[in-house]
């Protein structure tokens, strides 16, 4: 699993931070999501996949392997 965030699309909703706090954080000023890790492990993998599914801007991509 390799995560990417399209910053152009992110609307700063912070829903990814709610479901996967070990994987995502938000920039303080505009709320744009930032990755704490690109390749989450263990239970964080499913949480990250869930975050991608619920992102209101479809800005999170789960790639590869």
């Amino acid at each position: 699993m390799k995560l990417t965030i399209e910053e152009d699309k992110c609307v700063g909703a912070g829903q990814c931070v709610l479901v996967a706090p070990e994987v995502f954080d938000q920039r303080d000023e505009d709320g744009v999501a930032v990755l704490l890790t690109e390749e989450p492990a263990g239970p964080d993998r499913e949480a990250a996949a869930e975050a991608a599914r619920i992102c209101p801007a479809a800005a999170i991509t789960v790639g590869g392997r």
Partner: protein, 396 residues
């Protein structure tokens, strides 16, 4: 009859139902009906970054090319015109009759028309609307926006940035009445400082034009106090109504959209989700029809699960955001009518604050102005249990 799930409406909610049904393993017949020819796309950027020319259409698509056709039989450019719940049929505008065992209503909302030559005003609901509108927003053009809600104010900011002369006409005493006087007055103040003319306590009573089509030439916008505003373009952003005309006479309760229980069921074999649906929200203690992007996806997931025999209810904290030019407002919860807003954490030097809406001593919503992370913290403290449990749908 073999199982056949029919989803009417192919925007965020309808598309998500189809995707989740397949993800959950449903392998039966599945049909999706959409009024537009584009792939399903994200609507919130239409008034903001797409209108500003910062996003290409492909960046709005909600599915990959061809994905949808692998998941369902898709009828594009078609609208439902009638439904018979007893016979379980839906009739499309080309006469096609679709038999089904389960119906999902996800037809969204239709923009309300302005009085007097409504054809002279443009609307901003679809991608095609946004493209046509964007072509008219060149520097120096005069734009009148009827409506001071989210769509009207967001569009005002975008048009200002494009160099237009913007007049916003708001019916309430300040823009964004849904957020209360404190935040609404601040938005009005900021819009004025950015160069907009903001007229409050007034409404458009008529649009006069010599031409017949929207956006074809100059118009005169008449307000209910007699003011006449010359303009090149007038945008109708006075609200919208649930697109339920095709369900008239079915026996469904359509008082404020399709009335549903907390799991999205409207009648035997009928679910509804997205802007068109009003669900019972347990934490709110009543029915709510929320036109929020986030809510559409959450409802769609619950509907998909329940169609496959689950018994989920949705009881998450509603969430929405609005980009007011350089200012980002996020709200968790429901700023109920009559709730009082109390700002705290003011940080005037950095132009950011948070605040809380209270009604009858209870916190109903939290808001943050340029402080989205603080809003999440407040949400955790005041509105929801520990994360992420608060957003997993509870069992009925």
């Amino acid at each position: 009859m073999k199982r056949h799930i029919l989803v009417v409406g192919a925007s965020a909610a309808g598309t998500a139902v189809v995707q989740h049904l397949r993800r959950l393993g449903y392998d039966g017949a599945l049909t999706l009906v959409g009024a537009e020819h584009h792939p399903p796309y994200d609507r919130p950027p239409l008034s903001k970054r797409f209108l500003a020319g910062e996003l290409r259409p492909e960046q709005l698509w909600l599915t990959g090319a061809g994905d949808l056709d692998r998941l369902a039989t898709v009828h594009r450019g078609r609208r439902a015109v009638a439904a018979d719940l007893a016979a379980r049929t839906v009739t499309l505008d080309d006469g096609t009759v679709l038999d089904h065992t389960d119906l999902v209503v996800a037809t969204g909302v239709t923009p309300s028309a302005l009085p007097g030559r409504p054809g002279a005003a443009v609307t901003l609901k679809t991608l095609d609307d946004a493209r046509a509108f964007a072509a008219r927003l060149t520097a120096g053009r005069r734009l009148v926006i009827a409506g001071g809600g989210f769509l009207g104010t967001e569009t005002a900011w975008t048009a200002l940035a494009l160099g237009c002369e913007v007049t916003l006409v708001a019916r309430a005493a300040h823009p964004l009445p849904a957020l209360g006087g404190h935040v609404g007055a601040l938005v009005g103040e900021r819009l004025r400082a950015a160069g907009a003319t903001v007229l409050t306590g007034r409404a458009v009573s008529a649009v006069h034009a010599r031409h017949t089509g929207p956006g074809e030439g100059p118009v005169t916008v008449e307000l209910d106090d007699g003011t006449r505003l010359p303009a090149d373009t007038v945008l109708s952003a006075i609200g919208s109504a649930p697109a339920t005309d095709w369900l008239a006479g079915t026996g469904l309760d359509l008082t404020d959209g399709v009335r549903c229980d907390a799991g999205g069921a409207a009648a035997p074999g009928v679910h509804a989700c997205g802007d068109v649906a009003s669900w019972y929200l347990p934490r709110h203690g009543g029915r709510l029809r929320l036109e929020h992007r986030m809510h559409a996806g959450e409802q769609a997931r619950v509907v998909a699960a329940n169609l496959l025999g689950d018994a989920q209810v949705l009881d998450s904290v509603p969430f929405f955001w609005t980009d007011q030019g350089p200012h980002k407002i996020v709200v968790h919860g429901v700023p109920a009518p009559g709730a009082r807003f109390a700002p705290h954490d003011p940080d005037p030097g950095r132009d950011r604050f948070t605040g809380v809406y209270r009604k009858d001593g209870r916190v109903t919503a939290v808001l943050a102005w340029n402080a989205p992370k603080d809003a999440l913290r407040l949400r955790r403290e005041l509105l929801a249990g520990p994360d992420p449990a608060d957003r997993v749908p509870a069992r009925r």
